[in-house]
Symmetry: none
């Protein structure tokens, strides 16, 4: 069964607000096994809303509209939708009472236009609004089901979960489940090449790759009569992906970020961690600290932006800075070792590089970054060359640092010979 969304509101068209309702509805409906092929945003305009709604009803079984149910003149979603569905608006006494009660509780006098919200399409299903005055509406036509929801997320989300979700569950027989395989330290096109045969052969489950900064996510999605059957379809594909990408996969859980995976790995091995950052200037620590419960393993970190700070806080040698420069593998290594001494952390990561836009030279261009990871005295240094503007370079460096930390910790606790992963040194 197919569903599509029409989000109504000039504020969306002007970019005053980000359309989070569409994402919310999309995720919810995907979870219910509904196929969504289109999302539209349109303004509070009768002609254009009519056009968009007609098109949607022609191509989708279910059309969910959000916004434009307010009491003001320019709120006309309900009026337009009723007209398109060939239904008259009639006074709905319970809604009128509810609106009356709502204002009494707030101790506010309702204005005349508030009663407009109690005028609902004839023989529709009314959805109570416990967080506002606009009731939701479901109209069933032979073409499709048309569902009207209020625009404010604080009203839309609870109404969807209380009333719409149960209604939709009653309509569909199949469920869609998906699992995401998250890879770090490998480029999207390489991932794509390594699994081209799987993508070419995909039917159900389907396989899609999503590039993130320093990561690639592979989503495996299956449709079946129930969750168990869907997961049974997904399992062998995920298993095959694990065979192909091995340790480069940091998680197959929807809610596990790369920083969460690194923090989990540190906690699982009873390791404390610290970061000493130059060009990333705190971004790496900030990402680790965005993981709840990180306090067990992250105690302190330093930002050594100037050469003096590199010497003073983490004891980088003056001669090292003179001979190799602040952006060098040698400096990164000394920073990492010094940070371990300073904080007594088991794992210390150092980042030094040229984020740009200025400061680049022939042999040390903008985007050149050295990252050193020290796991209980075993130091790995990697050289990177990132592209993009200052913030892109810094974000890429942070993701690379997390991937390197992960690799070094896994390596330390495995029997992998140390030299192996160190060749890029």
């Amino acid at each position: 069964m197919t569903v599509e969304f029409i989000c109504v509101g000039t504020e969306i068209l002007l970019g005053n607000i980000v359309n989070t309702n569409a994402a919310y509805l999309a995720e919810k409906c995907a979870g219910l096994g509904l196929s969504c092929y289109f999302q539209t945003a349109v303004g509070d305009n009768e002609e254009r809303l009519t056009m968009v709604l007609r098109t949607a009803m022609e191509r989708s079984d279910i059309v969910i509209l959000s916004g434009g149910l307010g009491p003001t003149e320019d709120d006309l979603t309900k009026e337009v939708a009723a007209k398109v569905c060939g239904k008259k608006l009639v006074l709905h006494e319970p809604s009128k009472k509810a609106i009356k009660r709502y204002f009494e509780e707030k101790g506010i006098e309702p204005t005349d236009n508030n009663w407009k919200q109690a005028m609902l399409p004839e023989d529709c299903i009314v959805l109570d609004n416990h967080n506002g005055t606009a009731p939701g509406v479901i109209m069933e036509t032979k073409e499709s089901k048309v569902i009207l929801l209020p625009g404010p997320p604080g009203e839309l989300c609870p109404m969807f979960e209380e009333s719409v979700e149960p209604y939709l569950m009653g309509l569909t027989s199949q469920v869609i489940c998906s699992q995401t395989v998250k890879i770090c330290g490998v480029g999207e096109s390489r991932v794509e090449t390594m699994m081209k045969d799987l993508i070419d052969a995909q039917t159900n489950p389907t396989i899609a790759t999503y590039a993130k900064t320093g990561e690639v996510h592979i989503r495996v999605t299956a449709a079946a009569e129930d969750k168990k059957a869907a997961m049974k379809l997904i399992k062998p594909v995920v298993k095959e992906l694990k065979n192909r990408f091995g340790n480069d996969i940091y998680s197959t859980e929807q809610d596990v970020t790369l920083e969460k995976a690194v923090v989990d790995l540190l906690q699982a091995n009873d390791l404390t961690v610290t970061c000493v950052e130059s060009c990333t200037g705190g971004l790496l620590s900030a990402r680790l600290i965005n993981v709840p419960g990180v306090s067990e393993i992250y105690k302190s970190g330093v930002i050594t932006y100037s050469n003096k700070a590199k010497r003073r806080f983490v004891g980088v040698k003056k001669t090292t800075l003179q001979k190799y420069g602040a952006v060098s593998g040698q400096t990164a290594e000394e920073m990492a070792k010094g940070a371990a001494l300073l904080t007594k952390a088991d794992v210390s990561v150092a980042v030094t590089g040229i984020a740009g836009p200025d400061g680049g030279t022939e042999e040390k261009p903008v985007g050149l970054v050295y990252i050193a990871c020290n796991v209980k005295g075993k130091v790995t240094v990697k050289k990177f060359r990132f592209s993009g503007n200052r913030s892109k370079v810094r974000e890429s460096a942070v993701s690379a640092a997390l991937a390197l930390m992960r690799g070094c910790i896994l390596e330390y606790f495995s029997k992998v010979t140390f030299g192996k992963k160190n060749q890029n040194r």
Copy 2:
């Protein structure tokens, strides 16, 4: 002139990501005086994308597509758009070279599918991508202009500002100019109340407010026959806004961010700065360090996440932590003073709070944050209560810290009595 957006990507339809590109493009195009009546999201599907694009080209002068320009199998926006516009794809040598260079710089071997991105529609305008491998494309048909942009915001936004904005400006006979008045430390509703009369009376120039984390931007946009005439319309409105919001305005320049404004203020007053962070864990330093040339004023900073680190690095007293707790005005003040001693910086900012989701109590709930700013020994401490999830709380704290720094520096160098802004202490 009308514009509409088609955002391509299954991840949008599945609700895996919020469609921020649509909001970005909408805000930008509104600023250029283009009318946007429709936004659509569609998946990587030839038939449906063709249908949506044809409809858009029939009803809009300009159609901007984002996403689906990647090297992978399911990226087909360019192929479909070229077909709809009746153009063949031909190898674009400069793009091929650029892609080759991109991988050489990274020291990675490009895979075959990377060259797919160098195949571009015949006689199109090519938009360089300085942050990725997918070039942007402008195709001019007699129906409408079709613009293809990469999906990742880190690539789309710079490409829009560098190439698309100037192109769009060249299309319209009348000039649209806008100026943004950027306010920090004042809530959106208060800003709107303070200028309701201006918004109600707006015609040309138009006035729109945009809420950002910890900031409100007011965009004043005027249409006229030339830039001079447009700016003449804008000037008095901006002047009136300056009268109303005074020092809360940190900039009226498009490209000046709050952190840039703070760094400029520090540099203008020959002040060095440091940050000592607990719950924000490096995010504040990271934002300052995202400003090019910050090395003149930012030398070092510390992240003191544990109580021990607060004592050891910035000398917070054991008794203070015991009596008031780590999240208190007293601890924040001692952190700021200690950071000044440690780094010799003229300005030191300390942030300590409860970012959640756990750790909140009755009297110290999640979202409670204390920020202390020390300007040459004069310390101001402010208490905040932010809402939202962990990262929202941390981002809000960073913005509030920047606003507080700015206020304290202005105060220090003005004749404003010190007690005044200190009442929330």
